[in-house]
C-alpha cells in the first residue's frame, strides 16, 4: 500500500497515525474473521478445508486501483487516516447534516441499460420496482434501470451458494465477507461466476470512476482473489465493538467512568449492581474482556511458534475474571440465564449499565430513547489493559462486503455497471447519497427541525437500503446527535494507536473451513467455564480438544502461510 498523498485525505491524519508510518513496510490486512463470525448469524461455518488460501500484500499492491480522494466533502469531525497495513480508516464525522448537498457527478452514470442486483436486507421488504417511486426516482437519476432482488440477510449465504452453484448469477451480486468465510471453494466459484475487474480498475484506470477511486486501498486489497481484482469493496470502520455505558446514570450517581484495570472495572461492577433495584452492572461483556486481558485477536507468533488465543495464559486469566462476574451476579440474570436476552432492551431500561456492542448500537439506542427521554445518554469506556499497562484493541477487516459483476458481461456493460457503482459510491454530503439513502426531498423525506432527514410515510414504505450495498463509500459518523458523534470519534481516534499488530498483517487469508467450524463448539465449552458450569482448570483440556479436532492442522496451515511469506 502506498501512503496516501500528503494533504489529500478526507480525514486529517492524527498525530497518532503519523507515528505509525514505520509500519508501512508490513503492508496488509488482518483476518478479523474471528471477531466477525462471533457475531454472525446462526448457522455455523460449513466444514471442509477447501477455500483456504493466502495472498501476500506485496503481490496485491500492483493490482489495486490508485487512490484519488474526493475532496468536495470535508467532515467537520476529523478522523484518522490509517497508515497501518490493512486497518480501516476512521473517516471522520459530521456534527450536522449538510444543508446543501453537493452533486458528486456531473454526467449521467448509466447509459439506459437494465440490470438485476442481488442485495441483502435486514428489514421489511419495500414494494417492487413497478410500484415503488423511490426506485424509479433513483434509477432516473442514475440513467439505467436497476431491479433489486432483495434477499433475507440472515439466510443470505444459502441463497448465494445455490445461485452460484446453479450459475444463476444476477448482473450485480453483493456478498458479505462473513458469508464468504462460510463458503468452501469460493476461490474457484469467484473465477467461474464473476468478471475480472483488474483490466477496468487497476492503477490509474480507476480514474474513470472518481468515486471508486476514493475508496481506501486497504479495502481494495481485500477484493483480490487468485491474483485478480474481483469485486468492489464496502469499507469498514476499524473497531468491531466497545464497552458502552449509560452515561446519564453514571453522571447522576457519580460513578467511575474511567476504570483503568480489570479490578477497577470489577469493583465498579460491585458498586453499581443492585439486584433489589433491578439494576446490574453488565451484559455479557466477554468479547471485550479479550482485549482487556490482552488475548491476541487470533494468533500470536512467538519464538518460532504460533500460539492460538485459546492456548495463551491471558485467555485463562480472562476466563477466571469473567467467571467471577457471573458468579457474583454482576451480569444481568436473564443474560446469564439464557442466550436470547436482548441487551439493548435491558440497557435502554436501565437494568444493565455497561454492555458490549458495536458503536452503531449507540446511535440506535439514542434514536430509540432520546425522543421521549431527552436526558438519555451513552458513553464508551476508554480502552485499558487488565494490569493497567498499555492496552490493545482489535480491528475489523478492511472490507465488509463486496459487489461482483456477472462473468461474461460484455465490456460496454461492465463499464456501465462500474459507472453505476461509482454513482452508488457517492459519500455522505452529496446529492447522490441523499437520493440513495432517503429518496426525493419533500416526497420521501423532509428535513426535521434539527436539519436531519426524516422519512415520510411514503419514504418509510418505499425506501430500503439497496443502492447503498452496491459499491461502498467512506463511513462517516453521521449521527443526528452531535454530542455522541463527537464522543464516538474522540474514542476512536484515541483508541487507534492501540490497535494490535498481528503476525498476518499484510496477508489476505481465507480461513480453512474446518478451523472456522471449530470456533462455535469450542467457545461454547469456554462459555461453560465462564458461567461456572465447568472449573477453570478445564481450559487446558478444552484447548487440547481444540488442537486435536483441527486446531493443530490450522496451526500448520497458518505457519506455512508465514513461511511462504518469509516471516517464519
Amino acid at each position: 500500500m502506498t501512503p496516501p498523498p500528503q494533504g489529500a485525505s478526507t480525514a486529517r491524519p492524527s498525530t497518532q497515525a503519523t507515528t505509525r508510518r514505520g509500519f508501512l513496510g508490513l503492508v496488509g490486512l488482518t483476518a478479523a474473521a474471528g471477531v466477525l463470525s462471533a457475531c454472525s448469524p446462526p448457522g455455523t461455518p460449513r466444514p471442509g478445508t477447501g477455500g483456504a488460501t493466502a495472498a501476500a500484500g506485496d503481490k496485491l499492491k500492483a493490482l489495486t486501483p490508485a487512490f484519488v480522494p474526493f475532496d468536495a466533502i470535508k467532515p467537520d469531525l476529523p478522523g484518522t487516516r490509517s497508515t497501518l497495513p490493512g486497518v480501516p480508516d476512521i473517516s471522520g464525522g459530521f456534527s450536522s447534516y449538510p444543508a446543501d448537498p453537493v452533486p458528486a457527478l456531473t454526467r449521467k452514470a448509466g447509459r439506459g441499460g437494465s440490470y438485476k442486483a442481488m442485495t441483502p436486507l435486514w428489514g421489511p421488504p419495500p414494494p417492487g420496482l413497478a410500484s415503488n417511486s423511490y426506485f424509479q426516482a433513483v434509477n432516473a437519476d442514475i440513467g439505467a434501470t436497476l431491479e433489486f432482488q432483495i434477499t433475507d440477510g440472515v439466510t443470505y449465504v444459502d441463497k448465494a451458494i445455490a445461485r452460484l452453484a446453479a450459475r444463476d448469477i444476477p448482473d450485480l451480486m453483493c456478498i458479505p465477507n462473513w458469508e464468504i468465510d462460510k463458503m468452501a471453494d469460493f476461490n474457484k466459484a469467484v473465477d467461474q461466476a464473476f468478471e475480472d475487474l483488474t483490466p477496468y480498475l487497476q492503477g490509474d484506470r480507476v480514474k474513470a470512476y472518481p468515486l471508486l477511486a476514493n475508496l481506501p486501498t486497504a479495502a481494495w486489497q481485500w477484493s483480490i482473489w487468485n491474483g485478480k481484482l474481483m469485486g468492489v469493496p464496502y469499507p469498514t470502520e476499524p473497531f468491531p465493538y466497545a464497552l458502552l455505558y449509560r452515561k446519564d446514570l453514571f453522571d447522576e450517581n457519580g460513578w467511575n467512568q474511567n476504570p483503568r484495570t480489570a479490578d477497577e472495572l470489577y469493583r465498579l461492577g460491585k458498586e453499581i449492581t443492585d439486584a433489589k433495584a433491578k439494576r446490574w452492572a453488565f451484559g455479557d461483556i466477554h468479547e471485550m474482556a479479550w482485549p482487556i486481558f490482552k488475548v491476541p485477536q487470533e494468533w500470536r507468533y512467538e519464538g518460532g511458534k504460533l500460539i492460538h488465543k485459546y492456548e495463551t495464559p491471558e485467555w485463562e486469566l480472562m476466563l477466571e475474571w469473567m467467571r467471577k462476574l457471573f458468579a457474583e451476579g454482576l451480569i444481568h440474570p436473564s443474560v446469564a440465564g439464557s442466550k436470547g436476552a436482548n441487551e439493548k432492551e435491558l440497557i435502554g431500561a436501565g437494568q444493565i449499565l455497561v454492555y458490549r456492542d458495536g458503536l452503531g448500537g449507540w446511535k440506535e439506542l439514542l434514536q430509540q430513547h432520546r425522543p421521549k427521554n431527552p436526558g438519555f445518554a451513552l458513553g464508551v469506556l476508554p480502552v485499558f489493559a487488565h494490569d493497567g499497562g498499555t492496552p490493545i484493541m482489535y480491528h475489523n477487516t478492511a472490507a465488509g462486503l463486496f459487489t461482483f459483476i456477472r462473468k461474461g458481461t460484455p465490456k460496454a456493460q461492465v463499464e456501465e455497471l462500474l459507472s453505476i457503482l461509482d454513482w452508488c459510491a457517492a459519500p455522505y454530503g452529496t446529492k447522490e447519497y441523499e437520493l440513495a439513502n432517503y429518496g426525493v426531498k419533500g416526497k420521501h423525506f423532509t428535513l426535521g427541525s434539527d436539519g436531519v432527514p426524516k422519512l415520510t410515510d411514503l419514504g418509510t414504505k418505499e425506501v430500503a437500503y439497496t443502492y447503498g450495498f452496491l459499491g461502498g463509500r467512506p463511513l462517516y459518523v453521521d449521527w443526528p446527535f452531535p454530542d455522541a458523534a463527537k464522543a464516538n470519534l474522540a474514542w476512536q481516534n484515541a483508541t487507534f494507536p492501540y490497535i494490535e499488530k498481528t503476525p498476518f498483517d499484510g496477508i489476505r487469508i481465507q480461513r480453512p473451513g474446518k478451523y472456522a467450524g471449530l470456533q462455535v463448539p469450542t467457545e461454547d465449552k469456554f462459555t461453560d467455564i465462564m458461567r461456572g458450569r465447568r472449573p477453570v482448570s478445564d481450559a487446558k483440556q478444552i484447548a487440547a480438544e481444540w488442537r486435536r479436532d483441527g486446531g493443530d492442522e490450522a496451526r500448520a496451515f497458518y505457519l506455512k502461510v508465514l513461511r511462504d511469506n518469509g516471516r517464519a
Binding site: 435486514w122 469498514t236 435491558l346
Partner: protein, 298 residues
C-alpha cells in the same frame, strides 16, 4: 362425567391432584401466549419499563399492529400466504390421496418399487443445491409454484394415508366393484368418505407446513412482492440486525434502522399464530384418531 357403574368414584384427593396438575400444564401453555399478546399491545414505554416481555398490563396501544399493516406489504403477504396455503393444501391432498390409494392396492403396477422409492426419501434429503437446480431447470424461479410443487408430497403423510386405506376392509371395496364401480368411483364414493379423519389430519399438517414455510421463498423468489407472510414477518423481526459489526454509519441505517421494538416482534408472533389457532379446534377431534389408526395398523 359418565363413569362406568363399576368404577369407584375418584377420591377428592385424586381429583384435586388432577386439577392442580392440569391447571399447571394449562398455565405453562397459556402464560407465554398471554405475555406475547400483552407485549404486542403495550406501548414502547411499558416495554422499556419491563425491560423485556410485559407481564403486568400497563398502557395499551395498537401501534404495533398499525405499523405492521400500514404500507400494505404485510396485507399483501397475508393474501399470498392464504393463496399458497389453500392451493397448496388442495394440490397436496389430491396428489397424496391418489398416490396413497394406488400404492395401497395390491394389484397396482410396480407398487412395491414405487413405495420403496417413496420410503427412500425418508432417509435421504435432496440437498439445497440439487433442489435449486431442479426448480430453476423447470423454470419455476420467481413463480408461486416453486413454493408448492417441491413440497407437494411428504413421504410421511403418504405413508400414513396409505396405511389408513389399507385398514379399510377389502370386502367393502370388493362389494363396490361387484356393483360395477370403477377404481375412481371406489376412491371417491367409498374410500374417501371413510377416511375423513386421516384426510383432515394430513390436510392440517400440509396447511400448517405451507403457512409456516419461509425458506423456499428465500431461495426461489427474487421478487419481494411475491413473498409470503412468514418471510415478510421474519424481515421485521430481523430489522436493524445487520451483521455489519462496528459499522455505525450507514449500512441498513437509512432512516428506519430502528430495531423492532418488542411490541412489533410480539405482534408478529400473534399474526403468525392466529390462523393455525383458528383452524386447529375444527380438525383436532380427528387428530388423535386419524394418526393413531394410521400408525398402529401398518
Amino acid at each position: 362425567m359418565n363413569a362406568a357403574s363399576w368404577a369407584e368414584r375418584p377420591s377428592l384427593i385424586g381429583r384435586t391432584g388432577k386439577a392442580v396438575v392440569l391447571t399447571a400444564i394449562v398455565v405453562a401453555v397459556v402464560f407465554p401466549v398471554y405475555m406475547v399478546v400483552l407485549t404486542s399491545l403495550s406501548t414502547q414505554e411499558a416495554v422499556t419499563r419491563a425491560g423485556g416481555l410485559v407481564t403486568v398490563p400497563g398502557e395499551m396501544s395498537f401501534a404495533a399492529y398499525e405499523e405492521l399493516f400500514a404500507g400494505g406489504v404485510v396485507t399483501r403477504a397475508v393474501l399470498v400466504s392464504l393463496g399458497v396455503t389453500v392451493a397448496g393444501t388442495f394440490i397436496s391432498l389430491t396428489v397424496t390421496t391418489l398416490a396413497a390409494y394406488g400404492l395401497s392396492r395390491p394389484g397396482s403396477l410396480l407398487h412395491r418399487p414405487l413405495l420403496f422409492l417413496v420410503l427412500l426419501t425418508f432417509l435421504f434429503g435432496p440437498g439445497l443445491i440439487p433442489k435449486y437446480l431442479v426448480v430453476s431447470g423447470l423454470g419455476l424461479i420467481d413463480s408461486y409454484w416453486s413454493l408448492i410443487l417441491p413440497v407437494a408430497v411428504t413421504a410421511f403423510n403418504l405413508v400414513v394415508t396409505r396405511a389408513f386405506f389399507l385398514s379399510i376392509p377389502g370386502e367393502v371395496t370388493d362389494s363396490a366393484r361387484v356393483d360395477g364401480a370403477s377404481e375412481f368411483t371406489i376412491l371417491r364414493r367409498i374410500v374417501l368418505p371413510m377416511s375423513r379423519g386421516v384426510i383432515a389430519v394430513i390436510g392440517l399438517l400440509y396447511a400448517v407446513g405451507y403457512w409456516n414455510a419461509f425458506f423456499d421463498a428465500v431461495l426461489y423468489l427474487n421478487d419481494t412482492a411475491k413473498w409470503p407472510l412468514q418471510l415478510v414477518l421474519r424481515q421485521y423481526v430481523y430489522q436493524g440486525q445487520s451483521m455489519f459489526v462496528g459499522q455505525s454509519a450507514d449500512a441498513a441505517a437509512a432512516g428506519r434502522s430502528l430495531p423492532p421494538n418488542l411490541a412489533i416482534q410480539m405482534s408478529i408472533v400473534v399474526i403468525a399464530l392466529v390462523p393455525v389457532l383458528f383452524v386447529y379446534p375444527f380438525v383436532q377431534r380427528h387428530f388423535t384418531k386419524g394418526v393413531l389408526i394410521g400408525a398402529v395398523k401398518g
